[in-house]
Symmetry: D2
Subunit: 401 residues, 4 copies
C-alpha cells in the first residue's frame, strides 16, 4: 500500500530520515531471529565495535538502544548527571530547544544561553560562563553539534579548547544526530564524553536505533549519577556485555544487519571520503542558494552546515508553500521551517547515501518551485553554480577508477 | 551476510520474536519517508485506530512507541503512578520478575506476591490483599497476563471480578506482551486501564514498537501522576494527536507500514480465528509433551498458555542441551529456561504467524533432540498425539474453502 | 554483493532496463509458489486480461512468455508466417537491424528497406512497395515502432493508412519494445496484428517477460503458419488457456505479481497520463540538447522519440567517453551508440517509472560530463531549458492535489 | 496482494518450483541495472564459471538462457542436431513424454522406447538398440536423469558405460532439471555432451534461467547442426563471450545476483553435502511412505529418486483429493499425479533449500490428509519412521559445530 503515490522516486531531501541504500534494504529483508542464538552475539559484537570508528573513538563504550534521538538524549543525560545538576547549554534552533526542554523536564538546573536562530555558539560566552564557574557547579556542557533547524554547525574543537583552557571538569555531551558520519567528528581527539546519533540520519538506516558512545569519564560518572533511569540505564547493557549476550531486551535483528551493511558501505567508501562528499554537497547547495539571490539562514560561513541548508525566503513568501508545492508537483520532500523560523525558511537536507546528480535534481526542483510560487529565480542558475563547483571537486568513484 | 547459516528455513519456536509473514516483509521493504508529509498521518491514523481492535477496546487511547516491551512497561507505570505509590503485583517467572525489578527501580512501593514458578495468580491472595487495603493505598494492580518464562496464563477476568468485588479503585495494568493478539484479551470488558504489547510477538513484526493502550481512567491518572517521564510521556503524543501529525519524534515508517500489513492479515483471518488457532497450537503441544512422558511446567490446566509451553526435563538432563542441540543439528530455535528454571525447562513458543505443519515439524524436531541427548522418547509419539487433535480441530483455510 | 558500488542511487538513464518502482520490488519479494495451485490462475487471468489495456486492445489474445524481446520477436514471426514468406521491413537502427537479422535466419524472404540511421520510415516508399506487390506476396509488414538506437518513432497510424489505402492484406507486426506503455499506441485502432514488448521497458519490471498480443487475424494465420516453433508456439498457451491453468511451462510467479503491481500503478496514474508524462520528458530532453548546441540523431521532429534521445556529439569527441565518464564519476548510466553510430551518439533513455527531477538530475550530469571531456557546454543551460518547459507543463500529482 | 492466503508459511513440497532461501531473495531485491556497465561482466563471468562446478565439469561451456527448462531442452537439441537426425530416447513419465513431444515437433526422427511409468531405463534395451545401430544413425541418446512425474532416477553412469561398451559415437544429452545440484551428477566423468537444468529446481531460485552446459564435442556438433534456431542459438552467446560482454540480449540482473547468492550458499554447505542431504530426504520420505502402508510409484530401489517421491494411493482414493485437501486445510503444496498417473499418485517434492524439520512437518501433514480423506493411516507412523532415520543420519550443521 502506498499513500499519495507519485511517479518516479521520491526525492527525499529532508534532513532525515534519509535515503536507505539498496544494500541496507536488502540486508534488512529477513525474518526475525532468536536473539539468544549464537549468531546474534557475533553480529552484535561486530557492530558495537565498528560503530566506534564512525565516532572516531577507540576508548569509548558504545550503546545501541532501541529508541530514537530523543531517547538517546535522555540516555546521555540520565546516565551521567544527577537531578539539580547544573548544565550549561545553548538554544539556537528547534532541536537544541527540544533538548533544553528535555533537560528541564528531567529536573536539571539548566543554564540556557539563547543564541539567535541562524547563529552558532559564541565561544567567548562559553569561556565567560566557565571562567565564572569557579566552584565547578556546571557538571556538563551540552552542545548540539549541528542544529538541524537552522543549518548551523558548532565548532566542537573550539569548545573543547575553551573547556580545557578554563581547566573546567564539566562533562562534554554532544548531540551528533545530524552530524556524525557526515561532518568532521572526532570523539577522542575532542574529548567528548557522550556523543550520540540516530540510525535514520547519516548512517542511512530506518529509524529505530539510538546510538550512544560514552567516554571512560562518562562511564565513571554514571556510577554516581543519581538520575532515575531504567529503560535507558547503561548498566543493564554493561551487564549483558560482560555475559557476551549484549542485549538487556530484544534488539531488532533487522536493524542490526542493516547497520552492519551500512557500516560496510561507509568503510568501503572511506569515512573521510564520506565526510568530504558531504562537504561538497554543502558547498554546492550554498552556491545554488546564492545564485538564486536567497539568504542562507546560517549567519556566518564558519557555522555553515554540510548536512542541511536552511534557506530564507523573502518576507512576502511563505516557506511552507515551497515545501508543499515541492511535494505536490515534483515528488520532492524538503524540510519545513520549524518554530521561530516557520514560514520563513525551508530546508534542503543533503546527507546520507546520496550523490551529486540526486542533489542537482533536487536543486532544479527547488528552482521550479520558487518560480511556481512567484519568486523570480532564473531557472538553471542554481544548478549551474552548483554543478560548476561539483564538476571540479567530484572525484571518480573509487570502485570504478 | 549470514552468521552460522544452515540449510532450509530456521524453525523459529522461541516465544518471540516470531516469524514475520512475507506480506509484512514486503510492506517493510521500502525507503525512508518524510514523516511530516501528508502521507504519514493517513497511515498513522489508520494504525492507531485499528490497533485498538486487537486490544478489544473502543474507549482507550493507543500509543505506538519506538521502544520494546521493557519501554512499554515503563510507559505504563510512569504515566499513571507517582513515586512511592503502592503497587500490588505477582512474581511468577522471569518476565514478571523483571517488571517487578523495574517497578522497584522506578521507586514505587511494590508489594510483591511471590508465586511458585509454574503457578498462576491465586485469586484468594489477591482478594485478601485488596480487602485488607481499606485505605486504598494500593494504586495499581500489575499483572503479566501470560508469563512467558513458565507458560502460565493468568485469569484476567477473574482478577477484574475480585477487584470489583472488593470495590477497590486501583488501576489495573496488564502486560499483554505474549498474549495480546493470540490469547483471549478484552481490554474494555475487563476494565483494564493500561495494556501493552510489543511488535515482535503475536503481531509478527520485527522488534521496535511498544504498543500501549490507556483507558480514560488511566489518561485521567496521567494528569496527576508525578513519576518523571520524558521520552515515555503520553502528553507529548497527545499534543501531536491534536495537531494531526501524530509523532513527537521520528517514527519508523517501515514498521508502521508493516503494522498496517500485519493488521490487515489478522482482520482477514479474523481476530477470533487467530485466537482459536493459538488455542489449537497450545492444546496440540501439550498433548505432545504428555505423549513424551514429560511434565508441563504449568501446574494447573487453568493456567495453560496457548502461546508458549515450558517443558520440564528430567533431573539428569540439562534443558540447555536441548536448546543447543536443536539449533546445532536441526536449525530449530527453542526457548531456554530462564533464571530459576534454567537448565530445568525448555520452551516451545507457538505464537504469531504460524501453521499446523510448522508446529508439527518443530515437535518432530524436539522428539529427535530429546532422543539425541538421551531421553528415551518414542519418536513420532508427540507428533501422533498432536496431529490426532489437530486433524479434528483444524478448519479449512477461509480463503480456500 | 555489489560490483563497483558508488554513493547514492544509480541514475539509470539507459533506454531499458529501467527503474523498478518500489511497489514492484515489494510485490516480487516473495518465495516461489506452486504454479498449479488455485491461487495462480486468479493472478494469471488478471494480468493476461489487464495487459491488453496497455496495448489498447480488446480483441487481441495476450501471451506472457518467459523470454526477452528477442524471443517475443521470434514468437511473433514464427506463429504467423511460413518459411520463404515475404516480409517487408525497414532497417533504421540497431534494433530493426537485429530483427531483420532474425527474420533472415528464420528463413523468411526479407525485403529490407534501408533507411538512414536517424530517419524514420518513408511512407511513400512503403506505398510504392505495397502497390507494386500486386500478387500480395508480401505476407507481413514488420515495423519497429520506436527504434531505440536512434530515437526514432515511426508513424504507425500512417503506416496503417498506407496499407489500407493499398488494400493490402499483409499482416502488420509491430515491435513496441521501447514504446508500448510510454508512447501513443493503439493496437485495435491501428489494426496491428501482432504487437510485443518486454517487461524491462516502460512497464518498469525486471527482464524476463516477453509480452505479445495477437489479433484475431494473427491467430487465424497461426493455424496455417508453417514456421517451426515449439517453445514459442502460441498453441501450447491456447491449450492451457482453455483448461484455465494458463501455463504450458513454469511461469515466474514473482514476475507475475510484479506485473500485477506495475499494472496497478499505471492504471492508478492513468495510461494516458503516463503517455503524456513521457511526452514531457522527450520534449524537455530535446530542449536541453538544443541548449547544449548538440544535434539530435533523429532527423525530423515528426520522428522524435519520447522514450529515448540519441545525442550526436561533435566529430572530435568519442561518445563512448561520455558514457564511461558518466558512469565512473557521476553514477549515471547512459546508452552507448551502437553499430553505425558507435562513438557518434550517446543515448538518454527517459522511460518508465521516472519523474521530472530524476530527469533534470541526469541532464545536469550530462552537462558536467560533456564539459569534463572537453565539449564547451554552458553548465545549467540544458537544465534551464528543460525546466522552463517542465515547470509549465507538469501537472500536480493526482493523488496529492 | 496475496491470492487465497493462509496462516503461516506455505509448505512448498511440489518438486519445483522450490523454496527460495532468504539469502537469495535478498540478493534479488534490487533495481534494474544497465547490463552494458562494467559491473555486469564481473558478475556474469563469475556465475558462468561457477555454475560449472554444480554440473561437475571443467571442460564444458555454460549458457544461462532467459527461458525455462522447456527452452533449455530446445537449446540442447537444436544446437547439436539436424532435422531428421535420429534420436534414441525413453518415455517413462510426463516430463520425458513432453521432451519426446518436443523432439517430434522439432522434426527429429525419434526412436522412443516406452517404459512403464514407475520404471527406469532398462540398460539392456539401450544396449540392444545401440548395438543394432551399426551404421551409427542414432545421433543422440536423450535421457531424463530424474523423471519428476514418477520419481525415477536413471543410471547415467550405467548408460555411459553401455554407450562406451558399444563404441557408439552418439551424443549423450541429459535433462537434469530435477537432479542437478541435488543428485549425484558428473558431467565430465560420465561424458555427458549436453546437460541442462532450470533455476527454480535444486538451485532454489525463481523461474527464469535455463542453464545448459555443452561439452567440447557438443560445441563441435553445433558447428554443423542444421536445426533452425535463433533465440536459442549458442553462437550468439559465444560471440558475446569473446567480446567479454556475455549477453546477446538483456539478462535479468536480479536473477544473476540471485544465482550468485545461490551458488555461494551451495559452496558454503559443500556440493557433496547438499547431495548427501537430498539422499537423506529421499530415504526418510520412502520410510514414511512404507510406514503408511502405501506403495512408491518407483518400482525398484535402484531407481529411487532423492528429489521427489511419487506415492501411489489405493484404487478407491483419488490422489487429486490428497493434493487439494493438503492445500485447503494445511497450506501444504504437494504435486499432482500427471497424465497416466493422474488420480493415482501424489508427489512429495523434497529438493532445494530445505531441512529435516520442514520435511517432517510436511510428512505429518500428509498423514493427516490421508486420514482426512479416509485412508486408515496411523498418525505419527510416517514421521516416526522418517525421524528415526534422520536422527541417526543428520550431521551437525557445519557452521554451528
Amino acid at each position: 500500500m502506498e499513500y499519495h503515490p507519485g511517479p518516479g522516486r521520491n526525492q527525499l531531501f529532508v534532513p532525515g530520515p534519509v535515503n536507505v541504500p539498496e544494500q541496507v534494504l536488502r540486508a534488512m529483508n529477513r525474518n526475525n531471529e532468536d536473539y539468544r542464538s549464537p549468531a546474534m552475539p557475533t553480529l552484535s559484537k561486530s557492530v558495537l565495535e565498528d560503530i566506534k570508528r564512525i565516532f572516531k573513538t577507540t576508548t569509548a563504550t558504545s550503546f545501541i538502544i532501541p529508541t530514537t534521538g530523543t531517547g538517546a538524549w535522555e540516555s546521555a543525560l540520565t546516565n551521567t548527571l544527577s537531578p539539580r545538576d547544573k548544565i550549561l547549554t545553548f538554544r539556537l534552533g528547534q532541536f537544541s530547544l527540544l533538548w533544553v526542554d528535555q533537560m528541564q523536564r528531567l529536573n536539571f538546573d539548566v543554564d540556557v544561553v539563547d543564541v539567535e536562530w541562524g547563529a552558532g555558539i559564541d565561544l567567548s560566552v562559553l569561556r565567560a560562563k566557565l571562567q565564572s564557574d569557579t566552584k565547578h557547579e556546571i557538571k556538563a556542557v551540552c552542545v548540539v553539534h549541528n542544529e538541524t533547524a537552522t543549518g548551523v554547525t558548532n565548532d566542537l574543537a573550539g569548545i573543547r579548547n575553551v573547556i580545557d583552557a578554563c581547566q573546567h571538569p564539566a562533562l562534554f555531551l554532544v548531540d551528533g544526530v545530524s552530524s556524525i558520519c557526515a561532518l568532521d567528528f572526532r570523539m577522542d581527539e575532542w574529548c567528548i564524553d557522550v556523543a550520540l546519533t540516530g540510525s535514520q540520519k547519516a548512517l542511512s538506516l530506518p529509524t529505530g536505533l539510538g546510538i550512544v558512545c560514552a567516554s571512560p569519564k562518562a562511564l565513571e560518572a554514571s556510577k554516581t549519577a543519581k538520575s532515575l533511569r531504567v529503560f535507558f540505564d547503561w548498566n543493564d547493557y554493561l551487564r549483558f556485555y560482560k555475559m557476551g549476550t549484549y542485549w538487556p531486551y530484544t534488539p531488532s535483528s533487522q536493524l542490526l544487519y542493516g547497520l552492519r551493511a551500512a557500516l560496510d558501505l561507509i568503510f568501503e567508501e572511506g569515512l573521510d571520503n564520506v565526510i568530504e562528499r558531504h562537504s561538497r554537497y554543502g558547498h554546492a547547495t550554498r552556491l545554488a542558494v546564492e545564485a538564486w539571490g536567497l539568504k542562507n539562514c546560517t549567519q556566518k560561513s564558519e557555522w555553515f552546515s554540510n548536512t542541511v541548508t536552511a534557506v530564507v525566503v523573502p518576507p512576502h513568501i511563505d516557506s511552507t508553500q515551497v515545501v508543499r508545492q515541492a511535494w505536490k508537483k515534483y515528488n520532492l520532500s524538503l524540510g519545513l521551517g520549524l518554530n521561530k523560523v516557520a514560514g520563513k525558511v525551508f530546508r534542503i537536507g543533503h546527507l546520507g547515501h546520496l550523490n551529486e546528480l540526486q542533489l542537482l535534481g533536487a536543486l532544479a526542483g527547488v528552482e521550479m518551485v520558487l518560480k511556481d510560487i512567484g519568486y523570480p529565480v532564473e531557472l538553471g542558475s542554481g544548478v549551474a553554480a552548483a554543478s560548476a563547483y561539483l564538476m571540479r571537486s567530484t572525484p571518480l568513484i573509487k570502485s570504478r577508477m
